[in-house]
């Protein structure tokens, strides 16, 4: 899984919705194999583009309110928030080049 900082139901508003910078939230769970696979790829993207895009992870098992609020029904789900709004959704584990293409507007 990703080594990105964790956000929770309690910190989501402050850490994600109020952020000045775009934030990608990785909705994940321990029991989700593809989530574990995509984590290291997100870590690489964070290392390379962290100046433009923040990346955080939210454990859906421990933070059901936020997962429900954003109608997560499939993980890994990666949502980019800008000014408190979802501006991009990527569902499913993808190889790094495909994920970078999806996120080009934020990391390009």
């Amino acid at each position: 899984m990703s080594a990105a900082p964790a956000v929770t139901d309690a910190t989501f508003a402050a850490d994600v919705l109020a952020s000045d910078k775009p934030v990608l939230v990785d909705f994940w769970a321990e029991w989700c194999g593809p989530c574990r696979a995509v984590g290291p790829i997100l870590d690489q993207i964070l290392a390379e583009h962290g100046d433009k895009l923040s990346i955080v992870k939210l454990n859906v098992d421990e933070n059901p309110q936020t997962a429900a609020a954003y109608q997560i029904t499939s993980i890994p789900a990666m949502k980019v928030f800008q000014n408190g709004e979802v501006v991009k959704t990527v569902i499913g584990a993808k190889p790094k080049p495909a994920l970078e293409a999806d996120l080009a507007a934020f990391i390009g």
């Binding site: 194999g33 696979a37 995509v38 109608q71 029904t73 190889p95």
Partner: protein, 315 residues
Amino acid sequence: MRQVIIIGSGPAGYTAAIYAARANFKPLVIASSVEAGGELMNTTEVENFPGFPEGIMGPELMIKMQEQAAKFGAEILMDDVTSVDLTGDVKKVTVGSGETFEALSVIFATGSANRKLGLPSEDRLSGYGVSWCATCDGFFFRQKTIAVVGGGDSAMEEANFLTRFADKVYVIHRKDTLRASKIMQDRALNNPKIEFVWNAAVTEILGDAAVTGVTVTDTVTGEKRDIALEGLFIAIGNDPRTHLIHGQVDLAPEGTIAVHGRSSKTNLTGVFAAGDVVDPTYRQAVTAAASGTVAALDAEHFLQSLPADVLASAV
């Protein structure tokens, strides 16, 4: 230059790697960036892999196979093959990072991909109620009504697993008999939360932003009806993953890679294939592993038949 590159990291790929590594061919396994470990990474308990009388979790089994291959010297690369050139004596394999690897032999163990229903609504609602991974997404359907499409072992396993979360699970199947093994059938048929919808094809998935139901068409009478539900798990089978080698390696009429007899030899010298990508019939973890063994032994025999200086040119 390598002696052997193995493409794929399911039971076939890793078993081939264990054999090739023990034979000191230092295989490079290109395992995929997000699908390493293959199909078993998305399953729960595996009860029919010999040697595990208590069962073993699919991901744990695959991690053990990976460790076993690595222990004997297999190099494992978490990247995706983007193109191959297998026609010459030197095989070339290019990965997502842009790097190209060369080898004297290649074992193709790319497995199979989930078959789709082929409905436009399926792509549109994928991730919004349409799911391909019960172990990933079942959690989100607590106390909901959902359906599994399919009649094989995977469909039965998913339906049974999903009853941990959902209040009701329909199993929608085109026929009135199941392809699944007897033990898996009995579990599903005796599960009070599962209701079978026989002779029914899903012909539309309903919902704008999220799944609200499906339209099923009776495969005997042609009659249509809607079923209200919030999640649809599709388990209608798999298709061999051969797109990388189209035009280079011959395929069988079933769409799998054609191999000579009981061997793993393709039409190209030095190119071998194993696992679900050659098997339209059995498609078990154990048969894939056995097939990986055959491929490693065939590759070993091929490498040993090469002139000593050619073999020595590879590491």
